[in-house]
Amino acid sequence: MTNKHTDQPTGEVENTATNAAGVGIGTSTAADSTAAADVNATATGSSTTDNDSATDTVSDNSANTTGKDVVERPLGVFTRPEGGRGWRDWLSTVDHKKIGILYGVSAMFFFLVGGVEALLIRLQLAAPNGSVLSADVYNQVYTMHGVTMVFLFIMPLAAAFANYFIPLQIGARDVAFPRLNALSFWIWLSGAIFLNTSWIVGGGGADCGWFCYSPNSGVAFSPSHGVDFYAVGLQILGIASLVSAVNLIVTCLNMRAPGMTLMRMPILTWMLLITQFLLLFALPVITVALFLLMFDRLFGAQFFNPDAGADPLLWQHLFWIFGHPEVYIIILPSFGIISEVIPAFSRKPIFGYQFMVASGIAIGFMGWGVWAHHMFVSGIGPLSVAAFSLSTMFIAVPTGVKVLNWLATMWDGKLRFTVAMKFAVATVAMFTIGGLSGVTHSVAPANTQQTDTYYIVAHFHYVIFGGGVLGMFAGIYYWWPKIWGYLLNERLGNWHFWIMLVGFNLTFGPMHILGLQGMSRRIDTYATGYGFEAWNMVSTVGSFLIAFAVLLFLLNVWKSKRGSPYLQPPGPDPWDARTLEWMIPSPPPVHNFDTIPSVHTRDEWWHRKYAENEQGEVVSVVTAEEAAQTGDAKGVHLPSPSFWPLAVAVGFPLIGYGIIFNLWLALVGGLIVLTSLYSWAMEPADNPDTQHDDHDHLQHDDDNAHTEDHDNQDSQDSASESPDDNKDNKQLTVA
């Protein structure tokens, strides 16, 4: 295999719309197998990069048509779409980068939804005897705030990073199953929309808390359809996460570039891989619980009915066996992000790579043995309490190791406090506070005073917002130029950062005090005289500062985008960073890598640019611009787009409404799902009307990632290649 990273295919680079012309003559040396491992991976044409257009360049299949023989359609009626422009392209895309963007943008939308819910909560609690919301509406709003932020914001935002960066960081052209990837997103979006339609058609949101303890979640105690939407909606979202978890695990294990051993994978990819395993094992548990709840509520089952002898703690165990790993599902991606950002801006490698990986794995394992610390006061018995108290304490060890390793990464570095670095360092600091308040309630006796008070609310917001969301923002500022081809404004970013940090601490810091003063969680109002007034007002003011900071972020996006044509493009590697995603143009070409890089070391990209002399000093070998790929490879074999993932996803909400309101509707939804799945299976690997360049599918860097279905594809391919395959055909253009 000719994977020398230096021999870039030189094509028509120069920022012109090379796609328009028929330049894509033939055979690219770059078409180096690997990426397109989807069973239908095909796609044809020349890939070029449109360097001067930062964003929405759409795939333009300036379709062929000319000079092409009519080829035999292997399966008759079904064809593959060819991308096209605008929304059609987004609806049918199987490109992991576009799917990542779809995840990210949708997650940010739901961040605003959950944020509005948070502001309503804070308005209600700003003063005693609040009357902004009724008790009923308050319960719905705080429930949906939690559900939205966990399932519709942080998880999909992490999925956005996972989708976009796992293939780039391991040197792949796409994920293992591109259409399944699209399916994950569309099912997630359909579930998210379904969940929120309960406000309109379900008589309100769920009102049982995101934890939805039985028997309060039963029909007798929560008569509206809100909890039905919760039970069904989270199952739909669970399908999305499961599909995505399998896909990304296979991607990480099978699609790595030559030489990218597991212990050379970037920490972000490692943490995301661990997260996917957690999802894979945690989601079935909550799905079981939700399934039982659904049957209780809609079909008269008695799983959680104490009057029929049920033990209400069954739900708690099922929920928290999922729920605690969920905490690490939320936090590990952020740990991964700051493990990339801190080294990049400290200009040092991550300190103790092995310890960082091992502690992540340890957290992943130990996260399964601590769930009952959510139940210390539920009456599970002193021995269980003591055992789970111990396991909870010791999960602090790998977490603490991570914190000190981040600090050690900064030690002796040359710290550049860009906005991304500020967010990353703030993540370390805020997470440390959240982690240590966690230690205080790992001690079961002390926990009896703290649990279910605002002290816990403070704790987990320091972990999830301080550790999770701030870390995600670090990632957003860090990778923004890679994704969009322009930098976010640092000055506005600074305002965003400081206002968000101050707002965050004003919102959640006082909650520690409120909790220790005895303010219970989930109360829709409180009376005067308990000393809660002042701190609640501070907290509400802080929450509006956070909201303002989020608006500043959106303003920053808008202004930076507007100003970007007048600025120098950031180039492939604006931060002088270390990992493979920085060796390709910004934004990346649709095929990611012109040639799949051979990896010889951890931080491969940095080692291509720099070497260390005998004194251990860093010397530049070649500049980033020289070492980076140009992104103009031709004829890269890529998977064809498909509308069927979207079609499958459309069926799920219908099944959901059907289960809740009228089973006939579920039948319609089920038929849509089945028909779409059948059509998906019957969809040809290639668009039979198009031919493609040599895919050299026999040259795999390792014999993985290609399921036996690939044989299918081979045969289909050969069937579709007419003997006089004249190779000059269509361009597939590229964002």
């Binding site: 028997p215 105690f221 104490p306 111990l390 602090a396 050690a408 040359k414 101050v502």
Partner: protein, 414 residues
């Protein structure tokens, strides 16, 4: 990027944080009724000194250590003018002994915390075999102080068994809270206990999960239907101790409160004497009180019990959440409506205003789920006339003796 521009906000944040911590310390020292840092009895004090304080100290020290290191790193290694700085620091990849040492450091820190937990655990799980002398109906009884605590949407019931004393085991035999044996005293909202006695609580629920918590006397324990969980409290001083349901229990979770009133031995005996009596059954007359009794018997008794007036079996208690507080000694309690309203004003007069409001528009005081004729959870609006409300208030105020002035006074939270 000049330095001052960044360091100013940083100092501001730092000072805000320090300010928060200092104010937190002072706020916790205040006399907020639910303050978890102000234990008022032997159990809570032990919990506080053995578990809460040490773990806060340890966590605080670690936080200070990491905070100092972080700020030092930022100060020392920050590069402000980096646009043209292409230099690189030494590329340190790690230091295995160092990393093992801080792994061990965290491990041993957590071992200390674990030892703390193990040391403190008996304080919340052990029970003392104490006994108090009480006289019930003229008979002297050695009472192992035990109160059965039952959560309901959205009020707490407290049951006292003197003659046929119950234990955790005997109740677990019964299995659920809807078939409890008749008790000598059934009250709600306000639990009376003798001071300096460890009171065993047996906590359960009739509908959803609640959590019983009197921060000054001990941590919390969930009230779970079909389960009987042991807990305990102890108060060293006479006083009224406040609590709030802390497990989300539906619509009016925030309005589910409770109080523990710690009495001297004599006061406690007096309370037993008065509350083991049935309510008077008034003979027909043209008085407001009698008319009130008639309204009560015609309307309220479908859910509420007044011993001496309606049958002493717990009517309709087998239906979810339709149990309602036993009102036999309503006027003896200084709080009503699930612990959120005061029965008496600070000057000792009957709180007619709130009482009437509660009868007239209960849903405004405390949201409820009502499906008329089928389901009542929470006090429903019975569409009473003003006349009926006046009569009922007169009747309710004769149910039980007015509590001591100090209790009425201590109930006022302002």
């Amino acid at each position: 990027m000049n330095r001052t521009m960044h360091s100013r906000p940083r100092i501001k944040v730092l000072s805000i944080l320090v300010g928060l911590i200092l104010t937190a310390a002072s706020a916790c020292a205040s006399d907020a009724e639910l303050d978890t840092f102000a234990p008022q009895g032997a159990i809570a004090e032990e919990l506080h000194s053995r578990a809460v304080v040490p773990v806060f100290v340890i966590a605080g020290l670690v936080l200070i250590f990491i905070g100092i290191v972080l700020f030092w790193l930022i100060k020392k290694y920050r590069v402000n003018e980096y646009e043209d700085d292409t230099g690189w620091p030494a590329q340190t990849h790690g230091h295995t002994p160092l990393e093992w040492s801080w792994t061990a450091g965290f491990f041993f820190t957590m071992l200390v915390v674990a030892a703390l937990m193990i040391w403190a655990t008996p304080t919340i799980n052990s029970t003392k075999a104490n006994a108090a002398d009480v006289v019930v109906d003229g008979v002297s009884i050695l009472w192992e102080p035990t109160v059965v605590v039952i959560g309901n949407q959205w009020w707490w019931e407290f049951r006292y068994y003197f003659n046929d004393q119950v234990t955790l085991e005997s109740l677990r035999e019964i299995g659920d809270a809807k078939n409890l044996p008749p008790a000598d005293i059934v009250t709600s909202g306000q639990m009376m206990i003798p001071i300096s006695e460890e009171i065993e609580l047996i906590i359960t629920s009739r509908d959803v999960i609640h959590s019983f918590w009197i921060p000054a006397l001990n941590g919390k324990r969930d009230a779970v239907p079909n389960r009987f969980s042991p807990w305990k409290i102890e108060a060293s001083e006479r006083g009224v101790y406040f609590g709030q349901c802390t497990e989300f229990c539906g619509l009016s979770h925030s309005r589910m409160q409770m109080q523990v009133v710690a009495l001297s031995d004599e006061e406690f005996q007096d309370w037993i004497n008065s509350t083991t009596q049935d309510a008077p059954k008034l003979v027909a007359s043209d008085t407001t009180v009698f008319r009130g009794q008639e309204v009560f018997a015609g309307t309220c008794t479908s859910c509420h019990l007044v011993e001496g007036l309606n049958d002493s079996t717990y009517e309709r208690a087998d239906q979810a959440s339709e149990a309602a507080p036993n009102l036999t000694h309503f006027a003896n309690r200084s709080t009503f409506a699930g612990g959120i309203l005061n029965t008496y004003n600070a000057d000792g007069s009957f709180n007619r205003r709130d009482m009437e409001r509660w009868l007239r528009t209960p849903e405004e005081v405390k949201a409820n789920y009502t499906v008329p004729g089928e389901q009542y959870r929470g006090m429903p609006n019975l569409n009473l006339s003003e006349q009926q409300i006046d009569d009922l208030v007169e009747y309710l105020r004769i149910l039980g003796e007015q509590p001591a002035d100090w209790i009425i006074e201590a109930t006022q939270v302002e």
